[in-house]
Structures are given as structure tokens and as C-alpha cells.
Amino acid sequence: MAEEALVAEDVRKRYVSRGAPPTDALRGVSLRIDKGERVGLLGRNGAGKTTFLRIVSTLLIPSSGSVRVFGRDAIADPDAVRSMLAVVPQEGKPFFHLTPREQVYSYLRARGFTRETARFRSEEALGQMGLMEIADRLSITLSGGQRQRTMVATVIATEAPLMFLDEPTIGMDPFARREVWASLRRLTAKGCTILLTTHYLDEAENLAQRLSVIERGKVLVEGTGESLKRRAGGTIRVSITGGEKLGPELESFGLLIPDGSALHVVTSPERVQEILGLAVRAGLPASVGPVTLEEAFLRVVGRSIDEEG
């Protein structure tokens, strides 16, 4: 059996803060991640992702539940696990008065790396994150995306056994995002374990081997992107312009999603031919494509919102 990196069981968190009624941010979340896995945590704003990440990274005390990091109790003895962790906090920023090169290097030094290792690792991380050209500019002069790259570089340079990244690619351009993906892949290939949150569903699909969707503090679905799509009702989408006219006829083929002038039919591959036939006979243009994870997410979470009201 694979070695467990993180095991969270029935984690609950109720915030009692001034300025808000008591909030049950987590209502029993369990998650297991094995060593070397990349797992994505998805969910709407306020679903509880950041709360969960802060609890498992020893930065927030849960109301109840258990968290084990490489077999050690992270709640009773946080100091026993901290050296194995590294986190990219949501909306963090590098020191304004350090350059990216100084930021990454000095963070590694504070974590106890030798000068040589810190220098080598920081140069490597800066290179991977495309920061070489701006590595000697003060972070205060960097753009939001460049600062975020610096934060990610700081953390990936640690090669910590277990990393938590809260919306690590927010504000990054498509090139930078792909650099992050490649770096995270390299890290898990070396044996690191990664849990990240993102609102970019293409990123989740590309990067995470396993997904966990949380909604209102509970795990709604867990599994691969493909399994999430199957739960949405099918893996193929047929889009028919002006398809509303065919509406009733199409209902038996799968899930119908109206979208502007088009009607999407989420269905299984075997039924595509029949649907296209209907469209052609009605003289309506149609196209076929895979269901995206975003559509599946909207469908699965949307259904839950409808059910719970």
C-alpha cells in the first residue's frame, strides 16, 4: 500500500469572530493523500478550501477532527510536522524590499539549508518560474503575477515533502501557469506531495491526479476529472445552435444546458450519432466536443445548490 502523506478525518471548523455570526466553514471534511500525489481541492468562494488548507498546514486549530502528516498527529504536535511542510498562502506577497533572488535564498536559509544548497535551489526555482530576468529587482517594483511567481518559487525551492498551495497561479499569465504545472510535476516525480486549490478548472484537470470538490464545508465529490464528468451525466457535449426548438425531443439523450443561442446536450459517445442526425434533419448547425471539467463542476455543484436550496 502507498505511504500516506496526509490523512484528515472529519475535520470541522466553526469560526466565532466579531463582525459575523458563527460560521461553520467545515462540516466534516475527510481527505487522504498518498506520497507523491497531486490533489486538487475545488469549490466555490467560501466553500472552505482555505480553511482546510490552513488547518492541515498547522496554521489554524480545527474545532474537531484529526489530521496526520506522514503518520504524525499535526494537531496535538504541530512542531513535529512543520519541517515537512511548505505553504503558498492565499494572497501572500514577497517581502517588498527584497529581490526575488534574496527572497527565495533567505527563506531557504531560515529553513536551515546550507548556503550552497540554498543558492543552488533558489537559482533553480527562479529559473523554473521564469524569474531570472527580474531576479534582482525589488519585489515592490514587480507586477502582481510576478510577485505570485516569486511566492511559488520560494515554496517550491524547499522541495518540502508536503506542500499546500492556495490558488498558486492566481493572476498569472498562461505561460507562467504552465511553468508552475511543470514544476509541480517535477516535484511529485521526486516524491513530494502536493495539495492545491484553484478556480481554473483546466489547471485542475491538467495537473491534479485526483480532485476533491467541497461545497459548504463538505466533500461533495471525490475522484478523477473523468469520474466527475461521468457524474455530470456524460463525457461528450453536442452543441446545437438554435437547439431549443428540438428541446423535448432531446431530453431522452441526456442533460440539456441552455447557453445563449446554443443548447448543449451532455451525453455518452454512443448517442452522438443520433443527436447529430436530429440536428441535421432540422437544418441546425451542431458541433461535438468533450465535456469540460468546468461544465461538470457547474453541473455537480449546481445540483447540490438546488437540492440544499
Binding site: R54, S57, T58, L59, L60, I61, P78, D79, R82, S83, L85, A86, V87, P89, Q90, E91, G92, K93, P94, F95, F96, H97, L98, E102, S106, Y107, R109, A110, R111, G112, L138, T154, V155, T158, A160, F164
Partner: protein, 248 residues
């Protein structure tokens, strides 16, 4: 309660030093109040200069805590960098101490300039120089602790600002830090001798001889207050740093 520090603490202190050194103007202007007061004293009451010089040193050291307060709050609230350090092998007390040492190193030059002024204008005896070193160290422990603890109590930068001005006035301006304790009515003396900043200054003045006339009991009282308050608050701050490394 063993302190767990090491190379990481020093590295973090150097990081903070680097960050602070970019604020040369802040370091230079940290002297303004002290220098202005010294100029006033030279013009208005030159005989009080030895008091004001010692007061300026202690005041400058007390101000270090206010820098720590603002810096700790800023890197936590605005940058969230505390999360990077807390979820790492750097211990929570190493984080607090590293921050304190970094700020100390950055703001040391103004203190050294004041010490040179003392050497030029009102030189200390060897004994009072030793006493000055000891009390300054205690005031430093006290003020780092106070600044760090206060920085953890708020979620909003703006809520913290009023405390800097409140504490500066309560510890630096009101009690006899810049002026002789003899100017206060006698019934205020027990309070003035129990406040770490004024106790520190008065102890050096007593050691120097001729600047202040205190009974042995009063000296013992001031020395005990300063020592106990500084060590107790610092001990609590170390504990507090550990507790607040995780939010509730």
C-alpha cells in the same frame, strides 16, 4: 520552556535586517524626537543635558519594540509571510527573536551615535556604563515582547497604529525618561520607578552619582521591577509567539 533557535533564527534576523535597511529614511528619522528634545534641553536648560542624553538612549531602545510591532503586523496581515515561516522548521520563537534581532541590528546606528554623544558631552563612569548596558538589554527584552504581543492582537493594520503612539507616550514621554525624577512629586516616585523605561534611566543616573539621590531601597525596588517585568513579559512573549503561530 526551552528556546528552540539556531541557524534559522539568525538567517531570519539577517532577512529582516536587509528588509529594514531599505528604509534608510525610517532609520534616520527614528532619531528626530530625541535630537529635537536634546536641542531644546541645550537651549533651555543645559544642566539637564546628561539626563536627556541617557533618556534619548533608553527612548531609542524602547522605540525598537514599536518597529517590531508594526513590522510583525505588516508581514502577517499584508504579506501573510508569517504563514511561510510558521509552517516550516523555523520555530515560532525563532521567528519572534529573528524579527527582534533584525530590527535591533538595523536601528543600532542611531543608538551608537547617541552613545558617542554621551561619551563626548557627559561621559559615564565604568560602573554606570555597565549599568546602562544591563538596563538597555532589559528594556529591549521588554519592548520586543510588548511590540510582538500587540502585533498579534489585531486583524487590521489601522487598528494597530494608535497603540504605537499610546505606548510611546506612556513609556517614553510621560515618565521621567528625558527629565530628572526629582521634578516629580514624591508620591509619583514608586510608579515612575516601576515603569521599565524610567526605572532604567534612573538606575544609570544613580550609578553615575550626583544626578539623582535615591535610597538603597528605591534602587533595589527599581532594579527588581525592571528585571522582573522585562523577564516576565519576554517569557510570556515567547509562549505567546508559540500559541499564536496557530490561529484559533
Amino acid at each position: 520552556m526551552a528556546l528552540r533557535m539556531g541557524q534559522g533564527t539568525i538567517a531570519f534576523a539577517l532577512t529582516e535586517l536587509r528588509v529594514q535597511l531599505h528604509e534608510g529614511l525610517a532609520i534616520a528619522t527614528s532619531m528626530i524626537v530625541q535630537v529635537v528634545l536634546l536641542v531644546f534641553v541645550v537651549i533651555l536648560a543645559p544642566s539637564l543635558l546628561p539626563y536627556a542624553l541617557l533618556g534619548a538612549v533608553v527612548y531609542s531602545v524602547f522605540q525598537l519594540g514599536q518597529r517590531i510591532q508594526n513590522e510583525a503586523a505588516f508581514i502577517r496581515i499584508d504579506h501573510k509571510l508569517n504563514e511561510l515561516y510558521h509552517a516550516s522548521s523555523l520555530s515560532a520563537e525563532g521567528y519572534f527573536l529573528g524579527l527582534s534581532l533584525g530590527v535591533l541590528l538595523a536601528y543600532l546606528p542611531p543608538v551608537v551615535i547617541l552613545l558617542l554623544l554621551i561619551e563626548l558631552l557627559a561621559p559615564l563612569t565604568a560602573v554606570s556604563a555597565l549599568v546602562l548596558t544591563a538596563v538597555v538589554a532589559l528594556v529591549w527584552l521588554f519592548t520586543c515582547a510588548l511590540g510582538y504581543i500587540i502585533s498579534t492582537l489585531f486583524r487590521d493594520m489601522r487598528a494597530i497604529w494608535p497603540y504605537a503612539s499610546l505606548l510611546t507616550n506612556f513609556f517614553g514621554v510621560l515618565p521621567p525618561v528625558f527629565y530628572p525624577i526629582g521634578l516629580l512629586p514624591g508620591y509619583w516616585h514608586p510608579i515612575a520607578l516601576a515603569i521599565p523605561s524610567s526605572a532604567a534611566v534612573v538606575l544609570v543616573e544613580a550609578a553615575q552619582g550626583g544626578l539623582v539621590h535615591l535610597s538603597n531601597l528605591e534602587i533595589a525596588y527599581a532594579a527588581t521591577s525592571l528585571t522582573v517585568e522585562a523577564l516576565a513579559l519576554f517569557g510570556f512573549a515567547v509562549y505567546w509567539a508559540r500559541v499564536t503561530a496557530r490561529e484559533r
